[in-house]
C-alpha cells in the first residue's frame, strides 16, 4: 500500500496586497511538488501541501500555523511570502522548534534570533545594508566621483528598511545626503516629490518603493527630466514583466536591484527548465508571466528542504537544521549557503541596468541584453552606462 | 380646453380604517368648489384619492377633457400631475434645502409646463412679492405662512387645468388667511383656473366658493348649489356662524 503522504504546511497571501507574489510563489511551489513526487516523493512518501490564504493580513497568520501544527499535523512548515506575513508565524514555529525556510522576509530574524530560520532571499548576512551596497559601490567607481545623494522611500516596512540601509551605506561611502524623505503608500502623483528632489540637485537618487510607486517615480522622473547621474536602487516592481512592458524605454539606464535575470552569468542548472514550466502554468492566472524575480526562489527554498531531508533521511528538525547550516545547496538559483543567522552567507543582491528597452514589447525581457548585471563582480555581464540622463 | 373632474361613489381608507363611504363630487370647468368639513372627516383623503396617493377600493374618478374621459384610477401621482391636475398638499411638503426659486422651478417639471417656466416664474413673483425677495432663501427656513405661499405658487407653476388645495388656511394667522384666500381668488381669475379646495374655515372659504360640499364622516352630508345655499345650511349655521 501507498506510504502515508508527507505534509508540508504554510500560509500564503492569495488575496490582498501581496497576492500577486503569493500566487506566483504558489505556482512555483506546486511545480516543485510535482517534480519531487515524480522522483518518488520525500523519504518514499508522496508530498502533499496544506496551505491557507492569509489574505495578506498578519492577524490571520497565527491561527493558520497553529491549525497546521495542531489539527492538520503537518510534517514540515515553510513560510508565507513577505516580512509581515512571516514574522507572525515565528513564535509558533519557534515554540515547536521547527526548521523554518522563509521566503523573502527582510531581517525578520534580527529580532527573533532563531537558529532554525533559513531565508532564501539572497540579501546576505546583513540584509538591510547588503541590499543597497551594490548601488553605492557602483557610484564610487564613477569618475568624477558623485558627491550627493537623495534617498526617498515609501512609508512601509520593506521600503523603510531598505532606505535605512541605503542611508548607512551612503554615509559610510562619504556621500552627502541632501534629501531624505518618505511618502505614504496612497500617493497618486509623484511629480511634486521628484521636483523637490530635483531642487536639491543630487548626483544619486536612491528610491525604495513598491510597484505602484516605482511606476509613478519613473514616470515623474522622466517628465520632470531628473538630472541625477544614477537613479534607482530599491524599486520593487521594475522586476515584473507587465510593468517593464508599460514603462518601456523610460526604464533605460535605471540601475535597480534584482535577484535573477536571464543573463548568461546567471544560467544556473535547472533554472531554464523551471521557468519554462512556470511560464506555462502561469498563463491566464493573472500573475507575472515571466516569473524571473520570485518564483525561482520559491522553488529553491523547497529544494533546500528537499536536499536536507534526503541527506539526513529524517524529519528530525534538529538534524535538518544542522545539515542546512553546514551545507552548500545546489538550486535553480545557484549555490546557496546560509550564514549563522539564517540569511545567505554572502549577499547576491544584483544591481542591473536597463538597456536598450523598446516600447510595448514584453518578449524582449525573456532573453538577455535588456537587464545587464553590473554588480556583484562575480556575476557581472556588462559595464555601466553613466550618467543616467544622457 | 374644457376640463371637469368627476368623482363617483368613491370608497377609500387606510388599511382596516374606512374613511370615505361612497363619495361623489364633481367640479366643472372654471368653477371653485369648496369641500367643507371639520377635522378628520376625510377631505384630505378625497384629495389623496384624486391624486392617486391613496387608491380607492371602489368607485371611479374621471378627468374629462373636451368631452373625453380619462380614468384616473390606478394611475400614479406623477401621471395624474402630468394630466394637468396640481395640488397644494396638506403640510405643504416643500423641498426644505432647496431655495424658493428652485422649489418653484420644480413645480414646472411637467412636460406641458416646461416651456413656460420663465413667464410663470415672473408671474408668481409678481403675485407673491415676498417670494421674490426671498427667492434664494432655503424653503425650510421660511415661516409657516411664507411656506404656504411657496406651496401655492409651486403648484401653479405646473400650468394646471385643475388645482386642488388642501386647507390653505391651516396654521396661518387670520390676516394671512385673508390674504391667502384673496390670492387664490386673484390667481383663479387671472388664470381662469378650476379649483377644488378643502377647508375647515367656512367664513374664508365662502369668499371664493361658487358652490360646495359638506363632508361628514366620509359621506357627502350636503351639497350646496351656491354660496348662499351653503350659508343657509343648518350645519353651517351651527358650526361656523355660531347661530
Amino acid at each position: 500500500y501507498a506510504a502515508k503522504p508527507l505534509k508540508i504546511g504554510f500560509s500564503m497571501a492569495l488575496t490582498g496586497g501581496l497576492a500577486g507574489a503569493g500566487k506566483a510563489a504558489l505556482i512555483a511551489m506546486e511545480i516543485w511538488r510535482a517534480d519531487v513526487n515524480k522522483k518518488g516523493g520525500l523519504l518514499g512518501r508522496p508530498v502533499e501541501f496544506v496551505y491557507y490564504d492569509d489574505a495578506t493580513q498578519p492577524a490571520k497568520v497565527p491561527p493558520i500555523y497553529t491549525k497546521l501544527l495542531n489539527v492538520d499535523k503537518v510534517d514540515l512548515v515553510v513560510s508565507s511570502y513577505g516580512t509581515n506575513e512571516i514574522a507572525p508565524a515565528m513564535p509558533i514555529v519557534m515554540r515547536k522548534k521547527l526548521v523554518f525556510p522563509s521566503l523573502f522576509g527582510l531581517a525578520v530574524n534580527d529580532e527573533f534570533k532563531y537558529n532554525r530560520y533559513f531565508q532564501i532571499m539572497p540579501a546576505g548576512p546583513e540584509p538591510k545594508t547588503d541590499w543597497s551596497k551594490g548601488f553605492f559601490e557602483l557610484a564610487l567607481e564613477q569618475n568624477p566621483k558623485p558627491k550627493t545623494v537623495a534617498i526617498v522611500s515609501a512609508d512601509a516596512e520593506f521600503a523603510l528598511n531598505a532606505a535605512a540601509g541605503a542611508r548607512k551605506n551612503a554615509k559610510a561611502a562619504g556621500f552627502i545626503v541632501v534629501y531624505d524623505k518618505t511618502f505614504p503608500p496612497s500617493t497618486t502623483d509623484f511629480s511634486p516629490i521628484v521636483r523637490a528632489i530635483e531642487a536639491e540637485k543630487p548626483d544619486l537618487v536612491y528610491v525604495a518603493s513598491y510597484p505602484p510607486h516605482s511606476v509613478g517615480m519613473v514616470k515623474a522622473a522622466r517628465e520632470v527630466g531628473l538630472k541625477a547621474k544614477m537613479f534607482g536602487g530599491g524599486m520593487v516592481g521594475l522586476q515584473f514583466a507587465a510593468i517593464q512592458k508599460n514603462l518601456g524605454p523610460q526604464l533605460n539606464n535605471i540601475v535597480n536591484y534584482d535577484f535573477w535575470v536571464p543573463e548568461p552569468t546567471l544560467n544556473f542548472p535547472g533554472v531554464k527548465e523551471f521557468l519554462a514550466k512556470y511560464q506555462e502554468a502561469a498563463k491566464g492566472k493573472g500573475v507575472d508571466p515571466l516569473g524571473h524575480y520570485l518564483p525561482p526562489y520559491a522553488y529553491a527554498y523547497l529544494q533546500v528542504l528537499e536536499e536536507a531531508v534526503n541527506a539526513t533521511k529524517s524529519l528530525d528538525q534538529g538534524k535538518l537544521a544542522a545539515y542546512m547550516h553546514k551545507t552548500t545547496f545546489k538550486t535553480v538559483v545557484g549555490n546557496v549557503k546560509f550564514g549563522s543567522n539564517g540569511e545567505w552567507a554572502t549577499s547576491r543582491v544584483l544591481m542591473v541596468q536597463f538597456r536598450d528597452v523598446k516600447p510595448n514589447d514584453m518578449a524582449q525581457f525573456a532573453g538577455p541584453g535588456k537587464r545587464i548585471v553590473l554588480y556583484p563582480k562575480a556575476w557581472k555581464s556588462g559595464d555601466i552606462v553613466y550618467p543616467f540622463n544622457q | 380646453m374644457a376640463s371637469r373632474l368627476i368623482v363617483e361613489n368613491v370608497e377609500a381608507g387606510y388599511g382596516a380604517v374606512r374613511v370615505l363611504h361612497g363619495v361623489s363630487v364633481h367640479v366643472e370647468q372654471g368653477e371653485s368648489v369648496v369641500l367643507l368639513g371639520s377635522n378628520g372627516n376625510g377631505k384630505s383623503t378625497l384629495i389623496k384619492c384624486i391624486m392617486g396617493i391613496v387608491q380607492p377600493t371602489s368607485g371611479r374618478i374621471w378627468l374629462e377633457v373636451d368631452g373625453e374621459r380619462i380614468d384616473l384610477a390606478g394611475r400614479s401621482p406623477q401621471a395624474i400631475v402630468d394630466l394637468g391636475i396640481a395640488v397644494v398638499p396638506e403640510g405643504r411638503r416643500l423641498f426644505p434645502t432647496l431655495s424658493v426659486e428652485e422649489n418653484l422651478m420644480l413645480g414646472a417639471y411637467r412636460q406641458g409646463a416646461r416651456a413656460k417656466l420663465a413667464g410663470n416664474l415672473d408671474f408668481m413673483f409678481e403675485v407673491f412679492p415676498v417670494l421674490a425677495e426671498r427667492r434664494n432663501q432655503l424653503a425650510g427656513s421660511m415661516s409657516g405662512g411664507e411656506q404656504q405661499m411657496v406651496a401655492v405658487a409651486r403648484a401653479l407653476m405646473s400650468e394646471p387645468r385643475i388645482l386642488l388645495v388642501d386647507e390653505p388656511s391651516v396654521g396661518l394667522a387670520p390676516i394671512m388667511v385673508n390674504r391667502m384666500i384673496a390670492k387664490i381668488k386673484e390667481l383663479k381669475e387671472r388664470r381662469s383656473l378650476t379649483v377644488l379646495m378643502a377647508e375647515q374655515n367656512f367664513n374664508q372659504a365662502i369668499k371664493i366658493a361658487d358652490r360646495g360640499y359638506i363632508i361628514v364622516h366620509g359621506e357627502i352630508a350636503f351639497e350646496g348649489a351656491s354660496a348662499e345655499d351653503l350659508r343657509a345650511n343648518d350645519m353651517i349655521k351651527r358650526y361656523y356662524l355660531g347661530v
Binding site: L14, T15, G17, A19, Y51, Y52, D53, A55, Q57, P58, A59, K60, V61, P62, P63, I64, T66, K67, L69, N70, V71, T83, N84, A87, P88, M90, P91, I92, R95, E111, F112, D155, A156, E157, L160, N161, T182, P184, P185 | -
Partner: protein, 318 residues
C-alpha cells in the same frame, strides 16, 4: 445588578461561559481552537462597542480601526517602555482610547449623520499617519513583540490570551446589555430618534453622547490591547485595516442594531464563518463569500437577525 429574573439568568450564563472557558483550557491542549476563537472574540468586542454608538445612539463610526489600532499601539508602547504586565496594558489602552472617544464625542456637538461618520474616517487616517511616522513603535516598518514561552495556570500563552479575551468579551457584553435596558439606554435611544426633542425632554444629550463615545472607544481599545501579543508583529497597515472597520459595522448590522444581543449574534455568525472559511475554502472565494453573505443578509433581513426573530415572534403571538 439584579433587577429582574432576566438579569439573574444572564449573569449565571455569563459566569458559566467563563468557567467553561477556563475548564476547556485545562483539558484541551490543541492551540488552534484558542487562536481561532480569539479572533471571533476580538470581533465580538469590536461589534458590541461599535453598536453602543452606532446602534444605540445613532452615530455611525467609520473609524473603528483607529481605536483598535491605538489600543494595540498603546500596549506596544507601554510594553516597550515600561514592560507592564497585561492587565495594566489593557487598562492603559482603555484609558487612552476612552479619551480618544471622548474627543470624538465632542465632534458630535456640531456634526450629525454622515458628517460625523466621515469625520471619524478622517480621524482614522490622521492617526494612521501619525503612527506611520512614530519611530518608537516601529513607524511604518512595524514592530515585533516577543511573548513569554511559559505562563502560570495555562499550558500555553495563547490559552492565557484566550481567557483574557473571553473575560473582556463577556465584560463588554454585560456593559452593553446594562446600557440597553437602563435609563441611559433610553436616553441614547431618544438621541437616536430625535436629538432636539431629547434635549427638551431633559436628556443631557452631550453628556450621554460623551459617555457613549467614551465607552465605545475604551472597549475598542481593550479589544486592541492584546492584539500585538497575539500576532507578535504589528504594523500600521494591518492594525488600521479596513476589515476591522467593515467587520465592526457589518456584524451588528447582520445581527441587528437595536438590541444588545444583535452584535453578539452577528459577530459569532460572521466571525465564525470567516474563521471556518479561512481554513476550508482557501482562495479569493473567501472574501467573495463574506461579500455575498453581507449583501444577502442585509437585503433579506434589513433589521438583522434579531429583527427577523422579533417579527416572527410577533406573528406567532397573533
Amino acid at each position: 445588578m439584579f433587577r429582574n429574573r432576566g438579569d439573574v439568568v444572564f449573569w449565571i450564563v455569563l459566569g458559566a461561559v467563563l468557567l467553561a472557558g477556563f475548564g476547556v483550557t485545562q483539558t484541551i491542549a490543541n492551540e488552534y481552537y484558542y487562536t481561532a476563537i480569539y479572533a471571533i472574540l476580538q470581533a465580538t468586542i469590536m461589534a458590541v462597542a461599535w453598536n453602543i454608538l452606532g446602534g444605540f445612539t445613532g452615530y455611525v463610526n467609520f473609524g473603528s480601526a483607529a481605536f483598535f489600532a491605538i489600543g494595540a499601539y498603546t500596549a506596544v508602547a507601554l510594553d516597550k517602555w515600561l514592560g507592564l504586565p497585561m492587565p495594566f496594558l489593557i487598562a492603559a489602552s482603555a484609558a487612552v482610547c476612552g479619551l480618544m472617544g471622548l474627543g470624538v464625542g465632542y465632534l458630535t456637538l456640531r456634526l450629525k449623520g454622515v458628517y460625523f461618520a466621515i469625520a471619524t474616517l478622517a480621524m482614522a487616517i490622521v492617526l494612521e499617519t501619525l503612527i506611520n511616522n512614530w519611530d518608537y513603535v516601529g513607524a511604518a516598518k512595524g514592530v515585533y513583540i516577543l511573548t513569554p514561552e511559559k505562563v502560570p495556570f495555562f499550558s500555553s500563552y495563547i490559552q492565557l490570551l484566550f481567557m483574557v479575551m473571553l473575560a473582556l468579551t463577556l465584560g463588554s457584553i454585560a456593559i452593553s446589555r446594562y446600557l440597553n435596558a437602563s435609563r441611559i439606554g433610553r436616553g441614547l435611544a431618544a438621541i437616536r430618534d430625535d436629538e432636539v426633542a431629547a434635549e427638551c425632554a431633559g436628556v443631557p444629550t452631550l453628556r450621554l453622547k460623551l459617555i457613549s463615545t467614551t465607552l465605545m472607544g475604551a472597549m475598542m481599545g481593550v479589544a486592541g490591547a492584546p492584539y500585538p501579543f497575539f500576532v507578535t508583529f504589528v504594523d500600521p497597515i494591518s492594525a488600521f485595516n479596513l476589515f476591522v472597520a467593515v467587520n465592526s459595522i457589518a456584524m451588528p448590522m447582520i445581527g441587528g442594531t437595536a438590541h444588545w444581543i444583535g452584535p453578539v449574534i452577528g459577530a459569532l455568525l460572521v466571525g465564525g464563518a470567516q474563521e471556518v472559511i479561512t481554513v476550508t475554502v482557501s482562495s479569493e472565494l473567501n472574501v467573495l463569500i463574506v461579500g455575498i453573505m453581507l449583501v444577502l443578509f442585509i437585503t433579506l433581513a434589513p433589521q438583522g437577525i434579531v429583527g427577523l426573530v422579533q417579527k416572527w415572534m410577533k406573528r406567532r403571538k397573533r
